[in-house]
Amino acid sequence: MYQRSQQIQTLTHNEISKGVATEVFGGSGSRFLLLVGLIVVLSFIAPNFLSLNNFINVFRQASLLLIMSIGMTLVILTGRGGIDLSIGSVLALSSCMAASALKAGLPVTVSIIIGLSIGALCGLVNGALVTMVGLPAFIATFGMMQIARGAVLLYMKGAIIYGFSPAFRFIGAGHLFGLPMPVIVAGVLFAVFTFVLYRTPFGKEVYAIGANRIAAELSGVRVNRVLLTVYTISGAMAACAGLVYISRLNAAESVIGQLFELQAIAATVIGGTSFRGGEGGLIGTIAGALIITFLNNGMNLLGISSLWQLFVLGSVIVSGVTFDMYFWHRSR
């Protein structure tokens, strides 16, 4: 009886788990090694690096970046120039609105809902411009970046809102189970969206759109609806990061969040998500966000002058990813 040598018949439970794991980690697994390498090096050269406090501190800083990068990862995964430049401004707009709602005496939950809705609405408008009008994402979100920033500047007129109620301060500065709240918020959001991305039809559709938009459309995927959702999520995530941010600072002003979009994009791309679309994923983004934050933290601990910091950041990122490419992806 002839049997094709390459024909598979069944998969064991183990093989499925392994396959899913490789799929979820994608090509970004090696970026975690990069992260570990960075931590090892820093623990040798940076004083006071290896302490629980410092790590908690880094995680707290990284969580803000991670929350924003969740939305960015989804957007970039959809490919064809998918990008969201507006998150820094949307962050400022939505958190300032929430802050003034708080100041006006509205309950904390209502204020939070206001902030999140404004973020989501900005994202929805981005999505509508991209899908219905057909603007390139770069232009649509660039426009939103300007408009949201202008709006918040006009609204705040240079004022600073500070001194929030303890209830609101809890989400940025509080602790739960010994962990800072920002870390918990980021962890929960990350878990939720990882589940959404890998265990729901929506997640599969995001990847399909990124890999080949035409094929996805011809397979019955409602491309526009998925894109609208993705941009809305990105806006909401920016708002969420903003709320955590002002809660921790205990103040809100109109100039916060500048260049945050670039950091979120960098975390996403360093985590292995590609602008080609459909390649990469959320797991890598954690590595990306942590690499950036640990680097900044290490340089501060080492007392590197702020003039040098940018240079070191750039060269470590480039050489790290180069190293990674060279040792792990050479067979391409």
Binding site: Y2, R4, S5, Q6, Q7, I8, Q9, T10, L11, H13, E15, I16, S17, G19, V20, T22, E23, R199, T200, P201, F202, G203, K204, E205, Y207, A208, A211, N212, I214, A215, A216, E217, L218, S219, G220, V221, R222, R276, G278, E279
Partner: protein, 504 residues
């Protein structure tokens, strides 16, 4: 040709992660012969040719041209060694013009002080080439505006422009209809007479007798044998290829047909589809024949909602299609459409086989909107077995599959929807004989279970063998309807060419 072979490949091996694609292959090509390479999907034909054209490096083995060993380290080296390739997957850049694509990498420059590209001369040469191939398109047309068949012919033109000694043709006819194939064969014969060595890959076995001199059979990365074409029977060849007898190519028993599943009336779109009316019943397979450019694909796209129509009416399963007609609505109402261009329209190449297979059925498989890897894998493996897709694992990215296996993945995607109405545009393009028989069997099974199938195919034997009724299109119109018993190859061709009253 007394003095030695033109090309000799000795002991070629190549391994991809998890797959031994070639296990010590010897191959030989003489000047002035057409050497046909056949084998099942995934046998390693394309891989062997890509090694020859410098896309892959072999793990071991030697390549000799005219008895001298050569190192083919890059596509450029291959070109310099006189090897031209027509790849199985398209090798053209959509936003460049035909001229630019044909001469890409070998542009002609002017002799002026500051050299620049000599588009004038390239255009003249391109025009000559296109004329010699019988293509009447302006050489300045962008490739993205061409149909599949036209792109295929541009590939041929590009390869010919190299004026090589060795020409590799990897399934050049899979997107062509008989008229272009005739033309292509004339050219192949002329090239052969001029002393060129041609390696020809095809799954259409009838082509082998027509132009082949020798045939080499590859199975699972090994050479089964090389034979002269004369005196070799098709059955013998198939046995060599698949290692067993295969069933009837066009197995047919027909149950009685049911209600009307798909009804199209006076459908028009601009100048491509003109006043088309047709009907497909449940339990029926209807063939749609016609030359390339006759509007078959465009008609299918209109029915599916991929393009908008100007006039007319479409009724799917008794429901009239309204203004919001679009692919996702069609899929939801139980209509499936397998597009002809698998790379551009059928597959998410960078995603896994499993994710491609379930893409059109997410809603059916996971009504609670939570997916389960186990369910995904079981469903996928079901179709992997049914269609004999050769993969080491369903997690493998589709882009690492052989062409025919990719086509099977697209088929699996649509079979998985369990639709009631199917439109198949060239469903067996690039699929080997054995698998073709199985797919035909599956289509019959579908029809027996009551599905309605509209099948576009450029292979007349397939149309004739599979269809209960046949519509023939010419220049956007349906010019003739045949019943199964009336139709013959000659009659269909006559109508398809516009020979009978279809000139209007």
């Amino acid at each position: 040709m007394g003095d030695g072979p033109l090309l000799k490949m000795v002991g070629i091996t190549k391994e991809f992660p998890g797959v031994k694609a070639l296990k010590g292959v010897d191959f030989e090509l003489r000047a002035g012969e057409v050497h046909v390479l056949v084998g099942e999907n995934g046998a390693g034909k394309s891989t062997l040719m890509k090694i020859l054209s410098g896309v892959y490096r072999p793990d071991s083995g030697r390549i000799l041209i005219n008895g001298k060993e050569v190192q083919i380290t890059s596509p450029r080296k291959a070109q310099e060694s006189g090897i031209a390739t027509i790849y199985q997957e398209f090798n053209l850049i959509p936003y460049l013009s035909i001229v630019q694509n044909i001469f890409l990498g070998r542009e002609l420059m002017t002799n002026t002080a500051i050299p620049r590209m000599n588009y004038r001369e390239m255009r003249v040469k391109a025009k000559e080439l296109l004329d010699s191939l019988g293509i009447q398109i302006s050489p300045d047309t962008l490739v993205k505006d061409l149909s599949m068949a036209q792109r295929q012919m541009i590939e041929v033109a590009k390869a010919l422009s190299l004026e090589a000694r060795i020409l590799i043709m990897d399934e050049p006819t899979s997107a062509l209809t008989s008229r272009e194939i005739e033309h292509l064969f004339d050219i192949v014969r002329a090239l052969k007479a001029s002393g060129m060595g041609i390696i020809y890959i095809s799954h259409r076995l009838e082509e082998i007798e027509r132009i082949g001199d020798r045939v080499t059979v590859l199975r699972d990365g090994e050479v089964i044998g090389t034979k002269d074409v004369s005196g070799l029977s098709t059955e013998e060849l198939i046995t060599m290829m698949v290692g067993r007898e295969i069933g009837d190519l066009f197995p047919r028993e027909r149950v009685s047909k049911g209600e009307v599943a798909l009804k199209v009336e006076h459908l028009s779109r601009r100048n491509v589809v003109k006043d088309v009316s047709l009907e497909v019943h449940y339990g029926e397979i209807v063939g749609l024949a016609g030359l390339v450019g006759s509007g078959r694909t465009e008609l299918a796209r209109l029915i599916f909602g991929a393009d908008r129509f100007d006039h007319g009416e479409i009724v799917i399963s008794g429901r009239r299609v309204k203004g919001d007609h679009n692919p996702s609505a069609s899929v939801r109402s139980g209509l499936s459409f397998l597009p002809e261009d698998r790379k551009e329209q059928g597959l998410c190449l960078s995603l896994s086989v499993a994710n491609n297979v379930i893409l059109a059925s997410l809603r059916r498989l996971f009504p609670h909107r939570i997916t389960s890897p186990r369910r995904e894998m079981n469903v996928t493996l079901d179709y992997v077995r049914k269609l004999r897709i050769a993969i080491p694992s369903p997690f493998r990215a589709v882009k690492s599959l052989s062409g025919g296996n990719q086509q099977k993945v697209v088929l699996a995607k649509w079979l998985c929807t369990q639709s009631k109405v199917f439109i198949f545009d060239e469903p067996t393009r690039g699929i080997d004989v054995a698998a073709k028989a199985e797919i035909h069997g599956l289509m019959n099974e579908l029809a027996e279970q009551g599905a309605a199938i509209l099948m576009i195919s450029s292979e007349l034997p397939e149309i004739l063998g599979m269809s209960d009724r046949i519509y023939v299109m010419h220049e956007g119109r349906i010019v003739k309807e045949f019943t199964r018993d009336e139709a013959t190859q000659e009659e269909i061709l006559r109508y398809a060419m516009g020979g009978v009253g279809g000139a209007a």
